[in-house]
C-alpha cells in the first residue's frame, strides 16, 4: 500500500462515479421520471439532474481524472513517442482519444439541452454513455505490468 495505490484508487473511483452516474440516470432515473412525472416537472427535474452532473463533471471528475491520469502515466514512464508503440502505448492512446470524444459528446449534450434540441441531446447523452463504457473496456485491456 503506497501513495500510488491511493492515486490509482482516486482515478478508478472517480471514473466509477462518472460512468456509474450516467448509467444510473439513464437506466433508473429517466425511466422513472417518464413514468411518474408530468412533462413539465420531468423536464425540470432532468434539467436539474443534468446541471448537477455537469457541475460534478467539471469541478470534480475532470480535475481528478486528468490529474491522477497524468501522474500515473508519468510514473509508468509514458512519453509522447511511446503512445505510438503497439501494446500499452497504443491502447492508452486509443483510450485517451475515446475519452476526448466522450467529453465532446457530453459537451454537445449540454449545449443541445440548452439550445432546445432534445433529440440531439439524447443521442449525445447515449453516445457519451456507450463511449465511456468503451473507455472502461480499454482501461481493462491495458497490460497490467
Amino acid at each position: 500500500m503506497t501513495w500510488w495505490a491511493v492515486v490509482r484508487f482516486a482515478h478508478v473511483l472517480s471514473a466509477a462515479l462518472w460512468v456509474g452516474g450516467q448509467l444510473t440516470v439513464s437506466l433508473v432515473v429517466l425511466p422513472l421520471a417518464r413514468r411518474l412525472l408530468d412533462e413539465q416537472r420531468r423536464a425540470q427535474v432532468m434539467r436539474a439532474v443534468g446541471r448537477r452532473f455537469g457541475v460534478f463533471t467539471g469541478a470534480v471528475f475532470l480535475p481528478v481524472q486528468l490529474g491522477t491520469g497524468v501522474a500515473l502515466a508519468w510514473r509508468k514512464g509514458v512519453t509522447w513517442e511511446s503512445l505510438g508503440d503497439p501494446g500499452y502505448g497504443r491502447i492508452l492512446a486509443a483510450k485517451l482519444a475515446l475519452f476526448c470524444a466522450v467529453m465532446v459528446a457530453a459537451g454537445l449534450h449540454g449545449w443541445a439541452t440548452g439550445a432546445g434540441r432534445p433529440a440531439l441531446a439524447r443521442a449525445m447523452a447515449v453516445t457519451a454513455l456507450v463511449g465511456s463504457v468503451g473507455v472502461v473496456l480499454l482501461a481493462t485491456a491495458l497490460p497490467a505490468t
Binding site: 413514468r35 483510450k95 433529440a119 443521442a123 453516445t127 463511449g131 463504457v133
Partner: protein
C-alpha cells in the same frame, strides 16, 4: 435478450399482450441473440479457438436450431388447430436445447470433451422429446388439410437426433483418419439436409403461399407426401452409405433425397406462377430456395465422384453457400415475414413493424447474395473479405432492425401512467430513435478505438531485429504437433514447413496470427514468421484438437531454461533433438520439459535424435573361464534419450541403462570392483550371489570403491541394482542390470537377446515431481533396455526358422512384465531357475510373466518372414513404450 420478455410478464396484467405472442416474442429474442453472437464470432474470427467450427455451430446449433424448435411447434399447433402444449414444457425444451448448445460450444472450443458429449446428448434428448410432442399433437388433432407438414418436422427431428449423436462421437474423438472424415461428412449431411432442409421444405408448403399472399396450390398435399417418402429414407440411406464407406449407396440415397426435394418444390413453383414475389420476405426466401437447389446439386456431384472419406473436405467450399445463402436467408426471410405478426399490436402497428423490418430490403438482399457469390467462388483474399463484409453488414442490419422492433413493442407493452402519448408518431419513435443513434455512435467510436488499440498488438516482435533465418520441418499427426517446442535465438526469422502426415485434416495456427490453410492428408504449407521475440504458442484449430494435445511453442533461446528451474535443463543445456531442422544449427526442437507442471505426453512415434543408438539387445555367449573380474563405475549425471525425442538425466552403472551384463555358468566367481564415480552415495546388490548384505551391499560415498565377490551357485536371469535407500528412486533412476547364469543343459540357440524392462519416470531423478510419480506408481512409460519404444525405431533382426532365445529381467521398481511375441508362440519357457516348458513338449506358452526382479528366458521359432512385435502384454505398459519389433527376414 430474455430480460425483454420477462419485463412483459411483469407488466400490469390489464395491458398484458396475449400469452402466445409474449411466448414467441421472448423465444425469438433468443434467436436474434444467437444471430448477434454469430456476427460477433465472425468478426472476432481468429481470436477464438476453433473459429470456423464456432461460427458454424453458433449459427446452426444456436440460432437455427432454436428457431426450428420454436417455429415447428408453433406451426404444428396452428396448422392442426390443436391446443397449445403446456408453455412451461416448451420453455423447458428451449432451455435444455440452449444449455446443451452452450455445453457443446464450450466443450469443443475449450474442452474437456465430455462436456461437449453431454451437451450433444441433451440436444438429442430435447429433439426426440420435441418429436414426441409433435406426434402426440397429430394423434390428438382432427384430420385436416395440413397434417402432412408435421411428418416433415418429425423426420427433421429424427435427423437431428442422428446428427447430434454423430456430433457427440466426433467431439469424443471416436474414429481417426478416414473414419473420422466419414463421420464428419455424415454429421454435416444429416444435420443440414435433414434437420434444416426437411424443416424448411415442410414449412414452405404453407409459408410460401402465405408470403406470396396467394392460395395454396392444388396438389400440395400429394407432392408433400411423395416428397417426404423419397427424401427421408433417401437421407437415411445416404448417411448410412457415408458411414459404411459405400460411395454408390450414399450417392443413390442423396439422389432420392434430391428427387424428394424436387417433388416438394413443384407446388412452390406453381405458387410463384400464380403470384410474383413482391416483398422482401418473399424474395429472400426465394433466393434461399435457389441456393438450396444449387448446394444440393453440387453435393450430389461431390458424393458421387469422391470416396466417402474425402467428401467432408470437398464440401468445405460449399459451407458459406449453404450457411449464408440457404440457411441464413431462410431464417431472415421467415423472420421478416413472421416477426411483425408475432409482435402484434393491431393492423397499424403490424404495418409499421413490417415497414421497419423491410427497410432497404432490396439493397440488403443484393448485398447478401453478392457476398454469397464471392464466398462461393473462392476469390482472392481481399475480395473474400468484401464478401464477408457484405454478408455481415446485411445480417447486422437485420439484427439492428429486429432489435429496434422488439424494443418498440416492449415500449408499447408497458403502459404509462401520467405521460400523455403524443399523437404524432408514437412514443417509440420519439424516445427510441435518438437513443438508438446514440448507441450506434458510441459503439462505432468504441470499435474504432479498439481497432486502433489492437493494431500491431503482437508488440515486441516488431522491435526485434532479424539476426538470421532457419527452416524447421513441422509435422502434424496423431493428435500432436512435432516438434512440440522449437527453440531458436531471439531475432531468428523462422520458416515452418508444415506437413500434415495424418489421415484427417489439420492446420497450424500461431498466436501471432500466421496460419496455414486446412491441410488434407499429405499436404504441406509454409509459414514465415516475424523475427522471434517472445514465446509463441501454436495449435490446430480443428474443433477439439487443441484440447487433445495438438499444441506447440516457439521459444527464444534461453527462455526455456529461464522459464523453469527444472534441473533437467541444468543437466542438459543442449536438451533437445535436431531431428526436424534440415539445415539448421541453432533452431533446436527441444523435447517437452518434464519438469514443467503440465503433464507431458510421450510421443512414441516421434523420431529419435540423429546419432541415437539403441542399447544392443544381442546377448553375447559367456566368456570362457571360471573367474570373471569386472569394474562397474557409477555415473549419475549422464543424459540419455529415454523415449523418442526425450532426453533426460539418468543414474547409471557404467553410463548405460541397463548396466553392463555379466554372463557365466554355474560355479563361476565374479569379482566386481564397484566404484562410485557419481555425485551422491550409491551401492550395489547382486541377486545372483549369496553374501551377507552388511558388507558388500553397503552404501559408499562418491569417490569410494569396494570389492564385491560372489560365486554363482544357481542358474537363472538375475537382477542387480543399486542398494541405497530409497531404492525406488535409485532403480527408477536407471541403476539396474542383469546377470545371466546359463543352466547346465542349455541348448544352442541361433540368436540370443536380452530385454531388461524398467519403468520410465520423466523428470530429474530424485526430483519432487519424479518421486511423487514413483511413489504413486504412475510411470510416464515403460522401457526395454532403457528406452521406450526404442526397438520400434531400431528393430531387432532375425531370420525365419531360426531358434531365438529372449532373456528377460523385470527391473521394476514396481511393475513386472508379461512378455509376449505377437505371431510367434513360445515353445520353451524358463523362469526363475526352472523350465516351465521345453521344446518338444506338446504345450506352448504365450507369455513369460515376471514379477519385479524376476528373470528367465523364452524361446521361439519365427514361422515366416515378417514384422513381429515383442510387447509386455500388460497392454497399458506396451502402449506406454514396452514395445519393440522383430524384423524377420527370409532364411
Amino acid at each position: 435478450m430474455t430480460s425483454v420478455g420477462i419485463r412483459i410478464e411483469k407488466g400490469p396484467p390489464t395491458a398484458a399482450p396475449p400469452r402466445r405472442a409474449s411466448w414467441h416474442l421472448r423465444a425469438n429474442a433468443i434467436v436474434v441473440g444467437w444471430l448477434a453472437l454469430t456476427v460477433v464470432v465472425a468478426l472476432a474470427g481468429e481470436a477464438l479457438p476453433a473459429p470456423r467450427w464456432l461460427l458454424i455451430h453458433v449459427f446452426l446449433l444456436g440460432a437455427v436450431s432454436t428457431a426450428i424448435l420454436i417455429w415447428s411447434e408453433h406451426f404444428t399447433v396452428a396448422l392442426l388447430r390443436a391446443r397449445t402444449p403446456e408453455p412451461r414444457w416448451s420453455l423447458t425444451r428451449l432451455a435444455v436445447l440452449n444449455a446443451g448448445t452452450v455445453a457443446v460450444l464450450a466443450g469443443v472450443a475449450v474442452g474437456p470433451w465430455p462436456v461437449a458429449a453431454v451437451g450433444a446428448g441433451a440436444v438429442v434428448g430435447v429433439v426426440l422429446w420435441h418429436a414426441a410432442v409433435l406426434v402426440m399433437l397429430v394423434r390428438r388433432a382432427l384430420p385436416g388439410r395440413f397434417g402432412h407438414v408435421i411428418g416433415w418436422y418429425v423426420a427433421a427431428a429424427g435427423a437431428l437426433a442422428a446428427g447430434g449423436t454423430l456430433g457427440g462421437l466426433l467431439a469424443a474423438h471416436v474414429g481417426h483418419g478416414a473414419a473420422h472424415e466419414r463421420l464428419h461428412a455424415a454429421h454435416a449431411e444429416v444435420n443440414l439436409l435433414g434437420w434444416v432442409g426437411l424443416t424448411v421444405l415442410g414449412t414452405l408448403f404453407t409459408l410460401w403461399p402465405t408470403v406470396l399472399r396467394t392460395r395454396m396450390p392444388e396438389g400440395t398435399r400429394k407432392a408433400s407426401r411423395a416428397g417426404l417418402r423419397l427424401a427421408a429414407p433417401g437421407l437415411a440411406v445416404a448417411v448410412a452409405g457415408l458411414l459404411a464407406d459405400l460411395r454408390w449407396v450414399a450417392a443413390a440415397g442423396l439422389a432420392a433425397y434430391a428427387a424428394g426435394a424436387l417433388a416438394a418444390a413443384a407446388p412452390l413453383a406453381e405458387a410463384v406462377r400464380a403470384r410474383r414475389p413482391h416483398t422482401g420476405a418473399a424474395w429472400t426466401l426465394g433466393a434461399a430456395i435457389v441456393w438450396f437447389e444449387v448446394a444440393l446439386a453440387v453435393d450430389l456431384v461431390v458424393v458421387a465422384t469422391r470416396p466417402p472419406g474425402e467428401v467432408a473436405a470437398a464440401l468445405e467450399p460449399l459451407i458459406p453457400l449453404v450457411l449464408v445463402g440457404f440457411v441464413a436467408q431462410v431464417l431472415l426471410g421467415s423472420l421478416l415475414h413472421l416477426l411483425p405478426a408475432v409482435l402484434g399490436g393491431g393492423p397499424a402497428r403490424f404495418k409499421e413493424n413490417a415497414a421497419l423490418l423491410e427497410r432497404g430490403w432490396a439493397v440488403r438482399l443484393a448485398a447478401l447474395n453478392a457476398g454469397v457469390v464471392l464466398l462461393a467462388l473462392r476469390v482472392p483474399a481481399p475480395l473474400l473479405l468484401l464478401g464477408w463484409a457484405l454478408v455481415a453488414a446485411s445480417v447486422a442490419a437485420f439484427v439492428i432492425l429486429a432489435v429496434a422492433a422488439l424494443v418498440r413493442s416492449r415500449a408499447l407493452a408497458v403502459p404509462r401512467d401520467g405521460a400523455a402519448e403524443p399523437g404524432d408518431g408514437g412514443p417509440g419513435r420519439t424516445a427510441g430513435r435518438p437513443a438508438l443513434a446514440g448507441v450506434a455512435a458510441g459503439c462505432v467510436l468504441t470499435a474504432a478505438a479498439v481497432v486502433v488499440a489492437a493494431t500491431g498488438g503482437s508488440g515486441p516482435a516488431t522491435t526485434v531485429t532479424a539476426t538470421g533465418s532457419r527452416t524447421v520441418e513441422v509435422t502434424l499427426s496423431g493428435m500432436s504437433i512435432r516438434p512440440a517446442v522449437i527453440e531458436a535465438p531471439a531475432g531468428t526469422v523462422l520458416t515452418l514447413r508444415v506437413t500434415n502426415a495424418d489421415a484427417q485434416r489439420h492446420d497450424l495456427r500461431l498466436a501471432t496470427g500466421e496460419r496455414t490453410p486446412m491441410l488434407a492428408a499429405g499436404q504441406s504449407a509454409t509459414l514465415t514468421l516475424a523475427p522471434l521475440g517472445e514465446t509463441v504458442e501454436g495449435w490446430c484449430t480443428v474443433a477439439g484438437h487443441r484440447a487433445a494435445g495438438m499444441t506447440m511453442r516457439i521459444v527464444p533461446a534461453g527462455a526455456l531454461a529461464r522459464s523453469t528451474d527444472g534441473p533437467m535443463d541444468a543437466a542438459a543445456p543442449g536438451t533437445g533433438h535436431t531431428g526436424h531442422s534440415a539445415e539448421d544449427g541453432d533452431a533446436r526442437a527441444a523435447s517437452p520439459d518434464p519438469a514443467a507442471a503440465a503433464p507431458v505426453r510421450l510421443d512414441l512415434a516421434a523420431p529419435f535424435s540423429p546419432g541415437w543408438k539403441p542399447y544392443d539387445a544381442t546377448l553375447e555367449p559367456a566368456p570362457g573361464g571360471a573367474e570373471h573380474a569386472v569394474e562397474i563405475r557409477v555415473d549419475d549425471s549422464v543424459v540419455r534419450e529415454v523415449a523418442p525425442g526425450v532426453r533426460q538425466r539418468v543414474w547409471t552403472f557404467d553410463g548405460t541403462v541397463p548396466g553392463p551384463v555379466l554372463r557365466g555358468k554355474i560355479g563361476d566367481v565374479f569379482t566386481v570392483t564397484f566404484v562410485n564415480g557419481g555425485t551422491m552415495s550409491h551401492g550395489i546388490d547382486f541377486h545372483a550371489g549369496a553374501n551377507a548384505p552388511d558388507g558388500v551391499m553397503r552404501t559408499i560415498a562418491p569417490g569410494e570403491r569396494l570389492t564385491y565377490r560372489f560365486r554363482a551357485e544357481h542358474a537363472g536371469a538375475w537382477l542387480y541394482h543399486c542398494s541405497t535407500m530409497p531404492m525406488t528412486q535409485h532403480i527408477a533412476g536407471g541403476m539396474y542390470g542383469a546377470v545371466v547364469i546359463d543352466p547346465p543343459d542349455l541348448a544352442r540357440a541361433d540368436r540370443e537377446f536380452l530385454l531388461v524392462q524398467g519403468e520410465l519416470h520423466l523428470g530429474e531423478p530424485g526430483g519432487d515431481a519424479q518421486v511423487a510419480k514413483i511413489r504413486e506408481g504412475r510411470p510416464d512409460g515403460w522401457m526395454f533396455n532403457g528406452t521406450a519404444a526404442g526397438y520400434d525405431h531400431a528393430p531387432l533382426k532375425a531370420r525365419a526358422g531360426e531358434r531365438v532365445r529372449i532373456w528377460a529381467v523385470a527391473a521394476g521398481p514396481s511393475s513386472g512384465t508379461a512378455l509376449h511375441v505377437v505371431g510367434a508362440p513360445f515353445d520353451t519357457v524358463y523362469k526363475e531357475g526352472a523350465y516351465l516348458l521345453r521344446a518338444g513338449d506338446p504345450g506352448g506358452a504365450q507369455v513369460l510373466d515376471l514379477a519385479p526382479a524376476q528373470g528367465g528366458f523364452a524361446e521361439l521359432v519365427f514361422p515366416e518372414p515378417g514384422t513381429y512385435p515383442v510387447v509386455d502384454h500388460t497392454m497399458r505398459q506396451a502402449e506406454g513404450g514396452a514395445h519393440g519389433l522383430f524384423e524377420v527376414s527370409a532364411p
